[in-house]
Amino acid sequence: MQWLDGLIQGILLGGLYAQYALGMALMFGVMRVVNITHGDLMILLALIGVSLASTFGLGPWSVLVVLVALGGVIGIILQRLILNRVVGADPLPSLIATFGLSIALQNAMLQVWSADTRSLPSGGIAQASFQVGPLFVGVLPVIVLMTATVLTAGLATTMQYTRFGRSLRAASADVEAAAMTGVNPKTVYAGATALAVGILGFAAVFQSMRSTVSPADGAFQLIYAFEAVIIGGMGSIWGAFLGAMVLGISQSVGFRIDPGFGILAGHLVFLTILALRPQGLLGKD
């Protein structure tokens, strides 16, 4: 029963990781931009959400709407001000630029919010659970998983069938050729970043409801997002979802073997896949 429980908890955890990973799949997987601030932006949104909730007494779903919209705006600003200048074949400039921004952002958040951990009042949802056979399953994790699935399906459909998705895929394949075909790369990239950070709004709300957030947490979310995208395969939206599931299950099963082994198990699975199948599970050769 331990293993089944571990599997189910892992899938639910994967639902949260998928929400970090989707934005990363867009930016890293499709645009080839390394955005070190990805995790910090999620924390920033979460901290803003917690402050809004306590200042204006907003419930979690109102906070969600605000954070997703705010995330979109932040994404556009990030792309226009910084990332547009470092898009290109060489990943080093975008890595260094976002690294510097990450340090600045983390410490600015530290100054504003201090190192205290905070969480979002969930009105009881975080504690509620229901019984499935012999197992107890939390209500919140199921909501997180369903949201993740809907977001993934929506994003994958957008990339495959909409004008925006085609333009983004074209710009990622060959930005000059895309421009020659009429695509405005700046607009398309801004849209992609807005989408990526907007999705983080969901992750921000769920993470702060299920657990606590503090300014320095960004690095962990970042590493899980990268791992999920690489496990799943670059350029694949469902790949990021699958990678998040693999990561969540590895961590959860590892945790049940030994509490100190959980995260380590996830990293070892990541390194194994990197060694055996670097293009990822759903990646093209």
Partner: protein
């Protein structure tokens, strides 16, 4: 009035000057060929027109308006499309998706003279392979996709950069037949070509370039081999 003209066009790649004051023009519905040896500046000229190279605004004029140095996607919106050197298709996307990107960003107000169905009629093999990833097509088929993609931008002016390169003669004939029907539809076409004979026979007028300058221009039918030879290689390179 010329549809597109360049005036004393100068262009550089960093420290290297590629064009030294080039004058060029094309009228609506014309087919103009651009020939010259490797490195003469033919692709550079097309890139300058398309906005892929920064040049002074007044050096390139469309409908008499200065457009030099515009963003490439703005040139597409104005009705200029390019079949680039090396095709530059969107790898990882299917044939039909490659075409759809062009449809998504077609120049407005031009109606829809070109549709995906008409491209399939022009190049039937593409209809058969429409869902296939574009990188798995043969060179000739990829060239057809590249031309189709440019046409679906509904251009008034189509720039073709060495579309016969690396293709079998039979395929080249097929493609040039399609050029002729494109021109009959009213689209002006610039053909950059290495094959002088092909360039002569396919065009109304012809320009020859050498080391960043125009060395010869005139009606294709009236040009002599000697004149072209001198302009192509330069009189100073003449042997004996």
């Amino acid at each position: 009035m010329a549809l597109l003209s360049t005036h004393d066009l100068k262009a550089r790649y960093g420290d290297f000057q590629a064009l030294y004051g080039v004058d060029f023009e094309i009228a609506a519905g014309e087919v103009v060929a651009l020939i010259g040896a490797n490195g003469a500046g033919k692709s550079t000229l097309l890139k300058s027109i398309m906005g892929l190279l920064r040049v002074a605004a007044n050096m390139v004029r469309l409908d008499g308006q200065p457009v030099g140095g515009s963003q490439p996607h703005r040139m597409v919106a104005r009705g200029v499309a390019i079949v680039p050197e090396g095709r530059r298709l969107f790898a990882g996307m299917s044939v039909v998706d490659n075409l759809r990107v062009a449809v998504d960003h077609a120049a407005l107000g031009r109606g829809d003279a070109w549709t995906i169905e008409r491209i399939f009629a022009l190049f039937p093999i593409l209809e058969e392979k429409q869902s296939v990833p574009v990188q798995s097509l043969s060179g000739g088929q990829q060239q057809m996709v590249a031309i189709g993609r440019a046409l679906l931008n509904q251009p008034r002016l189509l720039l073709c950069d060495e579309i016969s390169l690396g293709l079998a003669p039979k395929v080249v004939r097929e493609i040039y037949q399609s050029i002729s029907s494109i021109s009959k539809n009213g689209t002006a076409v610039v053909l950059v070509e290495q094959d002088v004979g092909l360039a002569k026979s396919a065009s109304d007028r012809l320009y020859c370039m050498l080391e960043g300058r125009m060395t010869l221009t005139g009606r294709s039918a009236e040009m002599s081999r000697e004149a072209i030879g001198e302009a192509y290689f330069g009189v100073s390179h003449a042997v004996a």
